[in-house]
């Protein structure tokens, strides 16, 4: 028995990534930060906008709402890359909801990271996760941060069981009516000062459920959000980058 434990240990080796000290390249088809060609033909921009399942594109201004977009890539497909092209860059998080309306530029998150947050939480950050109607993709890709490859706890960041032990919440899902109260109660149970992170298209804007009366179109309506992490779901590296840049 012991023999097989040792054998497996040797076979598995050491798997933790060197990120952020070494860059990681995601596969070509990964859809990260879009590149927008604002000189593209109006007709094409309009075609993309009218077909976008999330109505995330403004064809006049030539912008994408990153909080509504689910990164399906249809706009890239329809414009054949001439209007929108998704890059591999996974650094998508923003602090200001205005910045979600994206015209090809995101200000570096570093600029917006508040000093006092860094001072308070830089060495140890404890987060309580609340799923409020999430489809389990966001939840699963947060959970993954605890696996050996990402190994979140090496940065002093942990997901905790009790809100009383937490410095903030990270919310997934559009906030269903049936979870509103539990979400607010969890938030109230966290000692001040506390932070709120909205993870994924649903938590930011309601995602595919936007406008549906059983949900609240995201966290914004009931709590002040400090950090928005776009994606459907956000890639674990998008989240890791956001947490490290904002708090470390």
């Amino acid at each position: 028995m012991l023999f097989s434990i040792i054998k497996n240990r040797i076979e598995q080796g050491y798997r933790t990534s060197k990120y952020p000290n070494e860059e990681i390249k995601l596969p070509e088809r990964f859809k990260g930060k879009p590149e927008i060609n604002s000189n593209c033909e109006q007709k094409i921009a309009e075609l993309c906008a009218s077909n976008c399942p999330q109505d995330a594109i403004d064809p006049k201004e030539k912008t994408i709402h990153l909080g509504k977009c689910v990164f399906c890539g249809l706009c890239e497909e329809l414009s054949n890359g001439s209007f929108i092209k998704f890059s591999n860059d996974f650094e998508l998080a923003v602090t200001d909801p205005e910045q979600l309306i994206y015209d090809g530029m995101i200000e570096k998150l570093e600029i917006h990271a508040k000093k006092h947050f860094k001072k308070l939480f830089g060495r140890s950050l404890q987060l309580r996760q609340v799923s409020a109607g999430g489809c389990n993709a966001c939840e699963a890709d947060l959970n993954v941060l605890n696996t050996p490859f990402f190994d979140l706890s090496r940065f002093g960041i942990q997901f905790v069981a009790s809100p009383r032990h937490a410095d903030g919440i990270i919310v997934t899902g559009p906030v269903t009516r049936n979870m509103k109260k539990a979400l607010l109660k969890t938030y109230e149970a966290i000692p001040d000062p506390k932070i709120v992170i909205a993870s994924g298209s649903c938590a930011i804007s309601g995602g595919p459920f936007r406008g549906n009366p059983e949900q609240l179109n995201g966290v914004d309506g009931i709590l002040k959000v400090d950090l928005y992490i776009p994606g459907c779901p956000p890639h674990p590296l998008t989240t890791l980058h956001a947490l490290l840049t904002f708090f470390k």
């Binding site: 434990i5 996760q129 389990n136 993709a137 696996t147 997901f159 539990a182 595919p208």
Partner: protein, 503 residues
Amino acid sequence: MDNKLLKINNGQKIKLADIPHFSFDEFYEEILSLALNDYYIVHYFAYEDKGKIRLVAVLRRKNWLFVGISDTPEKYPALTCKCTKFHMFEREIAEQFAIKPVGHPWLKSVRYHANYLGKEDIFGNDYSEDIPGRYEYYSVEGEEIHEVAVGPVHAGIIEPGHFRFNCAGEKVLHLEIQLGYQHRGIEKQILNANKKQLPVIIESIAGDTAVANSLCFSEAVEALANIQVGMEAKKIRGLALELERIANHIGDLGALSGDIAFLPPASYYGRIRGEFLNMLLAICGNRFGKGLIRPGGIRFSITDKQKEEFVNRIKKLKSEIVHIGDMLFNQAGVLGRFESTGIVGTEIAQQLGLVGPAARASGILYDARYDLPAGVYQEIPLKVVTEHTGDVMARALVRYNEALQSLDIVETLLTELENNNSYKHTEFELEPDNFVVTVHEGWRGELSHCIITDSKGDILRYKIKDPSFHNWMGLAIAMRNEDISDFPLCNKSFNLSYCGFDL
């Protein structure tokens, strides 16, 4: 035994007018007697058509589906009293369409929302109150009895649900599982949604089942819109579904091991799960396969280079999975916790109508890929994996052996790919006054979608059934007379869907 319903195939388009229409009494007798014999319920739901409410039942037996429609009374004697398989379905119908199954042994709202018709609420709930949970819980009385309430917010990063244990000391006498916190009203939303939104909504029913859901949706739309799909696309769809299965089975085996504090497999399988998600990422740009499958085909093909790389990766991962499996299933401490824990016997599993690995672990020989094959599964020889002990061990073994089988399927499919997929984004028109039901074996079991169109070709009713709809009750039964400390283990061995159930 013979029956009066219409015999149909998985994914077959049927004119509504061709479906036999019964008086309620006849319908009642028929579906009850079938369900008491060896027919299982795939769907039992209501819909509204020109102001009339109708009931639809889709039953299955061996390789066939059977469908019938009936008029609807305002109330009727509950089928559940005579056949447990109807338990959740009747509660759902009561909640959605205010039809009362009189004498139902536990008539309580399923997801906590007002009914679709604006009628008086059957459960007496006031939905201006935010919280689901202002209702009674099943309780046990006695001096030594205490209740443990857990949730909706749980300790880890998981979805919300409420678990109410009635215990004598450490022993669980009864567990009631109350869900509905994730309810987004998807079935209702679909009726008002723009067609272009549908694929994205469908992929967000349950993220860990995004592939299976979009497969059921796309095949249903293809049937109603008369769209043919090429073999290459079918293969890649099957491949994606198997990758989804492997990732979830392997991840859960790791989590099971973690729950009993045997950490090496938890770390290794946790990491290996990601390798399969990363294959989906490489194929379509999303780790859960979102955006891959659309009515008409698949949006991405697999390049020759990817093909070769995946085959090599799968070979290597397979041997790692087997090595870790050998370590896991031979460890005395693991056997001590897995064996004889959370037993669901064959007979109870049949009575409840369990599906998927949970059913197969209790000796039920049903796998939709084998019994009701669609798409590429019509070409794949499959051996249905079963166990007989119905405990955590059996569920773990079924999932382990299925993952291994799926690895072989993926390898075969990969080597057969010809890289001649063509896809173009198209809009679809559904045929009016038609009906279709699609079934796939998702990793949790039988997943099924059903679409009914109206005279204009708009969707009149979209019904989704996640396997968890059958299986949550199985978990509750598995916990009876177990120590409460075994709950995480039992729970993980089922690993059911909250959002898939809540819709």
